[in-house]
Symmetry: C2
Subunit: 393 residues, 2 copies
């Protein structure tokens, strides 16, 4: 049995549902009607939600932040739900499994899943905290970012410091404030930064610019890798408006190749030679193709006079193998190709409590996926690579 009992599985991509009091418990009373707070719907009505309308029904709970609405959607908390009951309807907290929003209750769910530790991304703020970027009152937005990080560090991860890897978010509209927040949280023991896979997708300066140098320098100094979850930059796969959601879900992992190509063909790693990136939920079966394809293109384009940010001296695949970790839930194709990627740069995830998660069968499934993999490789992939990368010993 390659995945032996002494191996503690460490998942580097999970999701916490913010408890209703996260912000109101931490912010001054004058902000309580504008900071994110949970509202009970007392009569049926329709409200705008991004480009669509959402039917709010009596008895539902929704998040309010300034003048925006965010219903809790079922797919973000599907753990324990039968497939047939999964849908996009808003739910109430008391309809969600307690482990989705309670760090102590979650430990029992992790035990049931055979998973020792998790790294939870934010939900309401978006996978990279981009909700606060769009906040109108930036003083309030900064307080909201800090409150989230304090919650993650002081409450969620403090509930079991050896079982939760902390991911913080940044006030991304201001890179100086962002670098300060990295340092503030690093001093409190933060392990990683939930960062957009491509800031340009959020209308922020791109990896090609100097804007993030202070942030990346602070992250490298604190040895905090950037954890990039697909969707963190609101980059969504192109399908028709009528396409089934299944098509979008199948395509989301590969959007991280877009991030990889942009990052590797940017000055970021040349300027920050110790900076690391961990991709979340991207899968790994496409990575060998991506490395091959980038190298092929690089071979030609590195000599083009117009290609300023293509490093002519270093193959893209070598840059990836030094700086970027790829991650999977259940990817037999990628496991078969693991040596083409590099066993030292693979990580594993459980994605609790999202619909891709295999909870409560994560470990049982991993036993099958790793059936032909030597134990010492399995140990790296599911445990020690993550411990080293996140300084989580």
């Amino acid at each position: 049995m390659p995945l032996t009992d002494d191996i503690k599985m460490i998942s580097i991509d999970d999701h916490l549902i913010e408890p209703p009091g996260l912000w109101v418990d931490r912010l001054p009373a004058k902000y309580h009607d504008r900071c994110p707070h949970v509202e009970e719907i007392t009569e049926d009505r329709v409200e705008p939600f991004y480009a669509k309308e959402v039917h709010l029904k009596k008895g539902m709970q929704v998040w309010r932040y300034e003048d925006t609405l965010e219903p809790n959607v079922g797919l973000t908390a599907t753990a324990g739900l039968d497939v047939k009951d999964r849908n996009f309807s808003p739910v109430r907290f008391d309809q969600m499994r307690r482990g989705t929003y309670d760090p102590v209750a979650r430990l029992a769910d992790m035990d049931e899943d055979g998973v020792w530790a998790q790294a939870p991304f934010p939900s309401l703020p978006g996978f990279s905290g981009s909700k606060f970027l769009r906040g109108k009152d930036k003083d309030l937005a900064l307080l909201c970012v800090r409150a989230y990080n304090d919650f993650v560090l002081d409450e969620w991860c403090a509930a079991a410091p050896d079982r939760y890897i902390s991911l913080i978010i940044l006030p991304m509209w201001d890179q100086d404030l962002s670098a300060q927040e990295v340092r503030r949280c690093a001093a409190k023991g933060a392990r990683s930064i939930a960062f957009p896979d491509n800031p340009a997708g959020l209308g922020l300066p791109s990896y090609q610019t100097t804007a993030w140098d202070g942030v990346f320098a602070a992250a490298a100094e604190a040895q905090m890798p950037l954890s990039m979850h697909f969707g963190g930059s609101k980059i969504i796969p192109f399908v028709s408006p009528e396409a089934p959601q299944a098509a979008v879900t199948a395509l989301f992992g590969i959007t991280l190749f877009n991030s990889m190509a942009e990052l590797v063909m940017s000055p970021v790693f040349k300027k920050h030679p110790t900076l690391k990136v961990a991709y979340s939920e991207g899968g790994i079966g496409w990575v060998p193709y991506a490395l091959m394809r980038m190298d092929q293109v690089w071979e030609d384009y590195r000599e083009y006079p117009i290609e300023n940010n293509v490093d002519p001296d270093r193959r893209p695949s070598d840059v990836v193998r030094e700086h970027i970790y790829s991650c999977f839930i259940d990817d037999p194709v990628g496991i078969g190709l693991r040596h083409d990627i590099g066993v030292d740069k693979l990580l594993w995830e459980s994605d609790y409590p999202h619909s891709d998660s295999l909870w409560p069968n994560s470990r049982a499934n991993a036993q099958k996926v790793f059936a032909d993999v030597p134990t010492e490789e399995v140990r790296k992939i599911v445990e020690t690579n993550a411990r080293d990368l996140f300084r989580f010993h």
Copy 2:
């Protein structure tokens, strides 16, 4: 030597540069200042070109169609150019290699490349002919589409019927006219249709609708596969505005996964059980991951009540293996995984005269890529699969 001398390499993705007289030679004189025609630039000036501006210099040649401008760009005709000389500057016809726009001259280039046959996509009209979709005068646009197809059938492919596979384009703004054009060209011996990888990207009805049923029925009836080249729907990978072109080039192949997921999770193949699709320039190394990932998602989502177009009875990978051909230039990762895709569904391409082409070393490179592949598999991949699919015997 697996790629033996008796194997005639058939490329299913190449590009013709339309000769200057293609439309003016075929359309009535009253259209000559509005149909696509080549204009000599007699003084330096700046003109809009899509969202950018292009500096037109005295001595250049550009295409005019109605009130739009299209400079010939160097990357579309790089065959024979040293890498250092490749750039995006407009060029003159007399600066291009003759084989780019002359079907007889091209035969010698193909001989030099060790390639027996090619299937050339259009250049000025876009890979799927979408330029005429945006024409203001739809009577003129229809004449332009027919003139292009007549040129391909009567002039280009007629120059060597056993060495050119004909790809026609459609008047996509009108699906009845499109079906008529399929039948008109089928009667003249057309072999395939250059079709958008996702019509929704062009603002056209999607695969999820009934709009294309007449076209697909006509194509299936005539045994004409849909040849889908990446970029044919103007779907481009997301990178920042400052990203190197190399990043975009590296990412373009994988955009066909978007098309694949949408197509497979649509009613198209259920309604048209003999219809086939050939992807061009997508590469193949990502396909095993794509098949695995779609199957994983399908396993869950097929039971979601909201997923109307997910066929609950047929795995996406089985749909792909029956209907979709994938294609590569130089993809050792994919060749290693060929049995996960299906050797019967692989095709090869030379991409002459674009920058990805290995001309004049296509065959020599293929010798290396196929070094460990049995001859009978090589024969299928580079010759007989294409002969069967395009009825090209």
